[in-house]
């Protein structure tokens, strides 16, 4: 019985020896092009717009090459591994473009194109002379690093690319570093990402010890004890969890996404978080079998993360923070799918593996697309109306009708409603969870289907949250000056958004288009010995597509009939009747915080909303103010008190930090001396010295 490692290595060896395909080279070329995209701008001065056009061109060129290579490999091209020399003989760099990597590359390049098109007008060089070039430089580096993380086939290359990616994202988040909240957000992000990277270093070190090399090849089935595998899993969970934003390691996410420029937020939410998911998926391909209970644990973590994210999103009234919390929710859903796949591996049910993994992977794509779209739309709102506060917007659907329509597409998609793409990936996960309750008589997995109602609750809360967001931002009256003066965004920004809306609609209405790619990745992930069923056999896509078509056709038909009716008898336009109120004002309309109040109160035990108001008790009414906010739990209730007690505990050691250079140098000398004494047999040396001195000293030999 061949082990998975042997089979895999044999197949890779065969494939590598058959042909030297161009796909890996194309990917590397794409990488180089995107990395270099921001460099010409450095030479072209800060007042010219030429550099941004050139940068966009380079990114688009790189993206085309990269997508071509990725689609080719997803379509069945051979897998190729390339080895590059590294600094030491044991540390060479390996690159490989296999189906899992290609799958993650597809959204990387699509989002980068959309982002760069968007950025030409959103962050126009002439409007942002002081940081525009830096933004484009780091944008290109980030895209290249994302691709490099995915192409890396050994721990060393992976970590290098990971660090570059994290740092590029840091520089992008803090691009507007004149604002204090941006600096704060960048700082928290940096700490979180490095905590994760530390765990990853430990992970790869342990992996080297167990596996014998840093290369990403599956471990032999006997290698490593149970304890070692569990330790590896925990390190991977922490390390990749920080990056993916799994609760409770998510605390850096809201501030970082809210304070970065919108197309950067789109990239971070759509791609950076997914690299954590990619890392976990890659990690599980290295283990011979997942440790017991891991699958159910991941489902539980995913469910909790999803519920946490969506409940907190309800309490936000900053548009981008709201979207950031929804990212946490969707990552939770992705982790649920991954957990289901792991349960399937443990239970030896290939159908569950296929459904769970396909749901996880498709949701990765879907989330990149619709979250990217939503962030770009949010950026358009900020561009058009000037503020991020939902309660100060309103009525933008009239002046910004195209942005409103695109945001609506994103909102329906993220709620998982048919006929758009969110529904397809959630359906895969639902069917998988239900099957875990129906197939197989084992009681061990029977708790898994209970995640389905919780997922349904998450979906319904997402509907609530996005009705709130869409309704308060685009519908209703104008709630402030900025909203009243809003204007539609330029065409390049609209094109970027449409570019992301297209896959949302396409995958939603024609889910079969994505199935071959998903099947290929599922087969690659599972390994050669298990044959998971094709997704087309597990879920009948034809009737679903039929229903989607019927939905679209039905809506169109009814709309046409009504339209004809309204042309014959034109409706009367008047003010809102509203049960007879004569003078409604914008302040009377339901704002976002009012809309969410019922749910925020219901979940108040988790959200702990804080209200602040000044009560004035003078005779005549004067200006009052009231604000509410939902604090980020982990930062404010866990990390901040920990930090304060840490500082207090370590305060005695502050005496060592007196600022005097001379004494710092003395510390170095002292440490050196102690090390010398510990590592060197001083007494022997002294004996020999005394003997040598007695023999005549230096000139004794001569």
């Amino acid at each position: 019985m061949r082990t998975r490692a042997e089979t895999e290595s044999r197949s890779i060896a065969i494939q590598a020896s058959v042909t030297q395909t161009i796909w890996l080279d194309l990917s590397v070329a794409a990488l180089v092009l995107t990395a270099a995209s921001g460099v010409p701008g450095l030479a072209l001065g800060r007042r010219s717009n030429a550099a941004q056009g050139l940068a966009s061109l380079l990114v688009i060129a790189g993206a085309l090459l990269g997508e071509l290579a990725a689609i080719a490999v997803l379509g069945g091209a051979a897998i190729e591994t390339r080895t590059l020399p590294g600094p030491l003989s044991e540390l060479s760099l390996h690159l490989r473009l296999d189906p899992l990597a290609a799958f993650f590359l597809v959204p990387v390049y699509l989002l980068s194109v959309a982002g760069t098109l968007y950025g030409t007008r959103y962050w126009k060089q002439t409007e942002h002379p002081e940081n525009g070039r830096a933004l484009r430089l780091w944008y290109g580096v980030l895209v290249a690093a994302l691709a490099a993380v995915v192409l890396a086939a050994d721990g060393f290359a992976f970590l290098m690319a990971w660090e570059v990616m994290a740092l590029a994202a840091f520089f992008l988040v803090t691009i507007e570093d004149d604002r204090a909240e941006v600096r704060q957000a960048g700082w928290v992000y940096l700490v979180a990402t490095h905590a994760g990277t530390l765990a990853l270093f430990a992970l790869f070190a342990l992996l080297w010890a167990v596996n014998g090399s840093l290369e990403f090849r599956p471990m032999a089935s006997g290698a490593g004890t149970q304890g070692a595998t569990s330790a590896l899993f925990l390190l991977a969970l922490v390390g990749f969890g920080f990056k993916a934003g799994i609760v409770p390691l998510h605390f850096w996410l809201p501030a970082a996404h809210a304070n970065a420029p919108s197309h950067v937020s789109a990239l971070m939410s759509g791609l950076l978080l997914k690299m954590g998911i990619y890392g976990l998926l890659r990690f599980f391909t290295l283990l011979p079998a997942p440790p017991p209970g891991v699958g159910m644990l991941m489902i539980a973590i995913g469910t909790f993360s999803a519920m946490y994210g969506v409940v907190f999103a309800l309490g936000q009234h900053d548009l981008k923070r709201l979207l950031a919390y929804h990212s946490i929710e969707n990552i939770g859903i992705i982790v649920m799918g991954m957990g289901l796949a792991l349960v399937g591996v443990s239970a030896q049910q290939p159908a569950w593996v296929a459904l769970g993994l396909a749901g996880c992977l498709l949701h990765v794509w879907n989330h990149s697309f619709f979250k990217g779209l939503l962030f770009l739309a949010a950026g358009s709102v900020i561009h058009g109306a000037g503020t991020r506060e939902i309660d100060r917007l309103g009525g933008l659907g009239k002046p910004m009708s195209r942005t409103a329509a695109l945001f609506a597409i994103g909102a329906v998609a993220i709620c998982g409603l048919p006929p758009l793409n969110g529904f397809v990936s959630e359906l895969l996960i639902y069917v998988g969870l239900f099957r875990a309750g129906a197939d197989g008589a084992s009681r061990q997995w029977s708790a898994a289907p209970l995640a389905a109602p919780l997922l349904a609750m998450v979906g319904a809360l997402a509907v609530a949250c996005f009705v709130k967001a869409y309704g308060t931002v685009f519908l209703g009256p104008h709630r402030s000056e900025g909203a009243a003066r809003a204007h539609e965004v330029p065409r390049s920004m609209l094109v970027a958004m449409i570019l992301l809306a297209l896959p949302c609609v396409t995958i939603g209405v024609f889910p079969v288009l994505a199935m071959p790619a998903l099947d290929r990745v599922v087969h690659a992930w599972v390994g050669a010995e298990s044959q998971p069923p094709l997704l087309g056999h597990l879920i009948p896509w034809t009737p679903i597509m039929g229903m989607n078509a019927a939905l679209v056709a039905g809506v169109l038909a009814v709309s046409l009939i009504l339209g004809r009716r309204f042309r014959r008898r034109v409706p009367v336009q008047t003010g809102t009747w509203d049960c007879g109120y004569v003078q409604p004002t914008a302040a009377m309309s339901y704002s976002a915080s009012s809309f969410a109040q019922l749910l925020v109160d219901l979940y108040g035990w988790l959200l702990r909303p804080r209200a602040g108001h000044a009560i004035r008790t003078e005779l005549f009414p004067s200006r009052q103010h009231f604000h509410t906010r939902v604090p980020e739990q982990v930062t404010e209730f866990v990390l901040a008190p920990l930090w304060v007690s840490f500082r207090r505990a370590l305060a005695p050691f502050r005496a060592l930090q007196h600022g005097r250079v001379q004494l710092y140098l003395m510390y170095v000398l002292l440490t050196l001396c102690i090390l010398v004494v510990l590592s060197f047999p001083i007494d022997e040396a002294f004996v020999r010295f005394l003997g040598w001195w007695g023999n005549g000293g230096v000139h004794g030999v001569e």
Binding site: V463, S559, M588, Y590
Partner: protein, 312 residues
Amino acid sequence: MAWNETLPDMVTPILHISVLLLAPPLLMGVINKTKAWAAGRRGPPLLQLYYDLFRLFRKDTVLSRTTTWVFRAGPVVGVTAVLLAGLLAPFGAFDAPLSFDGDLVLFAYLMGLARFFTAAAALDTGSAFEGMGAAREVSFASLAEVALFVAFVVLVRLSGSLSLTPMLHAPMTGAFHGLPAAALLLVGVALFVVLLAENARIPVDDPNTHLELTMIHEVMVLDHSGPLFGLVLYGASVKLLLFSSLLLHFALPFSFGAPLLDWALFGVGLLAVAIAVGVVESVMARLRLRHVPSLLIAASVLCAFGFFFTLA
């Protein structure tokens, strides 16, 4: 179960679609008549909603200047989505016209789509009343969805199938005794509560008052007029029909075997459900809004108990 095996003849689907399209307003009429009789009145005619719909479709429309296309999309998507969901739900002992693995999710999410657009249309008017109704509607729906899905989980476990038709026909097979039967009973009760919640009936909402403190669904559609309002009322009645038909599989889980008798049984069952709803509405008062979540959570817990019974 492959989807193309569920169309044995053309009669059942045609009857199904006819009932789906034509019967719903009658149910509303029955409920109103029951409530009127319980209050000692004669009440409106049974076919009142049909007259109302005809009248509304002939009227002009008044649109608010604040609204956009979303306001008109609300009723349109609401009706279309709910009617399409009706193609998935089996009526009585008969198969639904469309049945495939995973259609239970599509059923629930089509309702969700309808809810999204209805609530968005409510916010479109910029009025405080509609916003309030929309907020309440989406908040309570999140809890009702949980109960519905736990019920689905129980049914999936008992029937071993992932499609609504075989799932809901499972109680009719008579194969369940003891604990699974108790599970089905609990699920049935919970589904009744979900029906009341999703269709804005007392004790969750009062469809008759127009006081802001007591409205959820009524208030969301305050500004709709003419054909749009007609679509709203019609969509609401179709939704009631669908939930009633789901419930009937638990309340009357047997079949005569003959098509005519089974359709008659289904008709009688629908009327019974409508009368039951009317009775509940007449006997109880509306719950305070703060207690509605507790009611829905209780329904979910009942279903969860049912689930644990099936594990045994």
